[in-house]
Symmetry: D2
Subunit: 244 residues, 4 copies
Amino acid sequence: MRVGVLGAKGKVGATIVDAVKAAEDLTFTAGVDAGDPLTLFTDSQTQVVVDFTHPDVVMGNLEFLIDAGIDAVVGTTGFTDERIEQVRSWLAAKPGVAVLIAPNFAIGAVLSMEFARQAARFFESVEVVELHHPFKADAPSGTAARTARLIAEARRGLPPSPDATSTGLPGARGADVDGIPVHSIRLAGLVAHQEILFGTQGETLTIRHDSIDRTSFVPGVLLGVRHVADHPGLTIGIEPLMGL
Amino acid sequence: MRVGVLGAKGKVGATIVDAVKAAEDLTFTAGVDAGDPLTLFTDSQTQVVVDFTHPDVVMGNLEFLIDAGIDAVVGTTGFTDERIEQVRSWLAAKPGVAVLIAPNFAIGAVLSMEFARQAARFFESVEVVELHHPFKADAPSGTAARTARLIAEARRGLPPSPDATSTGLPGARGADVDGIPVHSIRLAGLVAHQEILFGTQGETLTIRHDSIDRTSFVPGVLLGVRHVADHPGLTIGIEPLMGL
Amino acid sequence: MRVGVLGAKGKVGATIVDAVKAAEDLTFTAGVDAGDPLTLFTDSQTQVVVDFTHPDVVMGNLEFLIDAGIDAVVGTTGFTDERIEQVRSWLAAKPGVAVLIAPNFAIGAVLSMEFARQAARFFESVEVVELHHPFKADAPSGTAARTARLIAEARRGLPPSPDATSTGLPGARGADVDGIPVHSIRLAGLVAHQEILFGTQGETLTIRHDSIDRTSFVPGVLLGVRHVADHPGLTIGIEPLMGL
Amino acid sequence: MRVGVLGAKGKVGATIVDAVKAAEDLTFTAGVDAGDPLTLFTDSQTQVVVDFTHPDVVMGNLEFLIDAGIDAVVGTTGFTDERIEQVRSWLAAKPGVAVLIAPNFAIGAVLSMEFARQAARFFESVEVVELHHPFKADAPSGTAARTARLIAEARRGLPPSPDATSTGLPGARGADVDGIPVHSIRLAGLVAHQEILFGTQGETLTIRHDSIDRTSFVPGVLLGVRHVADHPGLTIGIEPLMGL
């Protein structure tokens, strides 16, 4: 499989170039960055392009790639409903071309949320704890808030988790995200970690995701590269490629 | 829903009687133990019977219940292929009657294995750690061995997990169950716990199940009672009732 | 060693009676409860008495025991400064008699707080997470609040832990106990658990205590029984008997 | 305090140079590497030198520094009993000069072993689990083996941990290091982690150390730099400087 990279000189892009070169079943064709012509991909018979660029340029990139019949795996952010619709209409004109746009390529994070969704309605109690380095500006993290909302959605119709707390200190029971308590820990020596705790009579189930390295998106991107062609049209999130 | 219990004076049975009585949506009809007539169930218009009895009597119980059109939720052990076939043939004669036979009603344990199966093929590395009280005779535990075999099955065709160990002490890398390392910890103060660790570039995913109480089967049994009727015929394991 | 128990018919007392009987190096002499004469201890040549009774009666018990030259291990609560002074003055009159009064006999909890105190000044960051069953009325738990205050005391003079949080939801960063964030989780299936997380550049240290059984005070009480005589006079807390 | 670095162009040395420059209470004076004269330290009125060089040159470095009255913090390996004696004799001739030689500067690892030693004799059961990246050659790790031996030493005279294992698979119960079970996990996505589990009736205590970054030695080295002068003569290990 012949693979190119857009944003190839960026930190993320360069890591992906290295990973493609290291994979025995993939051939690296071309790296394109600001100023380089996109025709490097067509000239090199590239089959899939990975795009980690910028919201300002990603739509132009996708228009070119779809028109050229090249599949795309996109980690660039900023996809509004309007942009999604635009991509769909370009794809409608080129049946067989496949585009994957994913907000999160970390396989462990994606599975962790999916398992939380599946487990949510079988337990009386659930709480989310996220742990990050102390330079993070938001608490709770976006991922933790999203996880809590997913769980709340899956628990719709169930009674709230039991909680007899009647005295105490403000904040002890965490932030409330759609009825799910979320606790944020900030600690030197950590990177990005999340724990989802479920409990019922006599037993608990804990799903923990630890990301200790900025390269944890690599296996998910390679999974996208290898399987995007099996999903013609637009796919949002890597879950469908994982059979979830 | 009108619910009876077979083996009502046993430790497990008595716990289930209490749980049925405590559940607002369930009505306890009759408890039957050695010497009591099974007609107590028909006399009391029982709709579902929970059977935690003994391999010696469970087949007679099931023949009576199926014939009487009463659904059954069975935790009794000893179901050979022959017995399963016999139950199926009784059920064939009474369409609409539902029987659930499950080896494990602990929801956390069931989900934990199911998640391990789903995650298995997305990670380079996987190991299982089980932790129990020190009075346990077998190591690894049956659940850990079963979990490892499920994971090995799901990983079929993938390369083995990387492991550069070249020197060391015997046993350090655990027991080998179909290529999956399994580690058994025995510690005073523990009950029954299991951790499945998955790892790939820059991230790990851990699924942990803690069972600290002999009543952790209760929520799974009640789930069986409430949903068995939606699955006419024979169902093995509570997974299908959980939509897994 | 000849050991008696005061409050022998209470839940805790009865557990201690059983533990004394089971210990090969201890001989159970007498159990005393409301209405029984304290002379049962002197008549039986008791050397140490364990008192888990009630604030209303514990002072009378201690006066008798000290006067009779019997050592005491006390788990009863309600010791004000005045009461402590009174016990000291009784002991001053009977040199050689030993009394141990401890608010917490769980060895793991005591060690956990001691280690937190020792580690506190070597890490930039520290947070406390306590996890309990959902029937608990206070959040944070008394133990967590006490742990946080101990840590804050040990960190006196050090800069506050780094925390760049600038946006988020109220409560996400936990309760503030003397500057230490404390998070309270309430989950069905839990009993009493506490985690103290320390972090500095590139590494974290976690001290976790899990108490899953109401009998976790037993080893600490037996430790008190065996070593109280080595500490004549009044001892507060089991730490000195543990060499901490 | 005026601080120099020996081995300043090595990976470790360069990290220490950066850390010294970043510390408000320290002044970086000179970095010396192969070929540079050691007089750079005397010329710059250096008070403490950190040495992360090579066994081949460290003795010459120490002879010069001690003679010049400069304190040293040494992370270089290869100190045999003979070398230690030699350093002691140089120091005897220069009272007031202080040298710290430490095999491990990771504060969390040092505390973790110290706490294990303190806790060891109060629990019936203890096991060690170490978790590392899959490129590690030895299992168990040197740190885990050392931790187990320390624990075994502290438990001398106590009965062995209870273990009713009678059937199972070889390796399930881990490696035996002086009677302490040690389990080694090798997982992609991990760096270096260790968990020491203690258990007794109804409770467990877990001490976990996570090192996720090759710079975790920095806080320990700075601690050495700041406090070595308070310990004239030779000090082995950072424990005495931590008041342990």
